[in-house]
Symmetry: C2
Subunit: 107 residues, 2 copies
């Protein structure tokens, strides 16, 4: 499979969980520490920690430590890049995959 699909699908997978999508929405107003996010859900702390790791590893969320707390914020460049890639894929274009042959680059 072409890298563009693998990379994009990794980000999509990260936000394809309703709870993680809600976390991204929460972060759109600015950074939040894990404890604040946790207050907003009925999940355990390890579950949130795992979810934040998924978002960070997908590259769409940044983390920074300040004392005991970890603060998370959106990586807008990555998110804009995602919207841009989806836009290209959803609409017809010059050098289109539609003109390509069988995929020999398996996943």
């Amino acid at each position: 499979m072409e890298p563009i699909y693998k990379e994009t699908s990794k980000i999509l997978k990260a936000i394809s969980d309703a709870k993680r999508l809600r976390i991204v929405d929460m972060l759109s107003c600015g950074e939040l520490c894990a404890c604040k996010i946790l207050e907003s859900f009925d999940i355990t702390q390890p579950t949130l920690s795992h979810d934040m790791k998924v978002l960070v590893e997908a590259g769409i969320v940044n983390d920074r430590r300040d004392g005991k707390n970890i603060y998370y914020s959106l990586n807008m460049e990555k998110l804009e890049g995602l919207l841009s890639k989806l836009n290209v894929m959803f609409y017809e274009k010059e050098d289109c995959i539609c003109n390509k042959k069988k995929d020999h680059h398996r996943m």
Copy 2:
């Protein structure tokens, strides 16, 4: 969980598979029958049938029968709706979830 996240995550889940994302990209130039799509991947026919069902049930792909063949095409309204919703979620807004309290509408 609020319906907006559940609905959006269902669509994201549908395209969070690299192969299905590639299928969406292929359909951006116009409708294709299942057999044409199948030629483009190293998967079995039932696997493609299942993948197309996921895309159709997410509402982003339409299907129509013409004789022996099923033709698939993109539902642009749904895809535009997705981009629009993501745009709202990624950027700060007036009536923001950031100002909301604990989520009592569990999934």
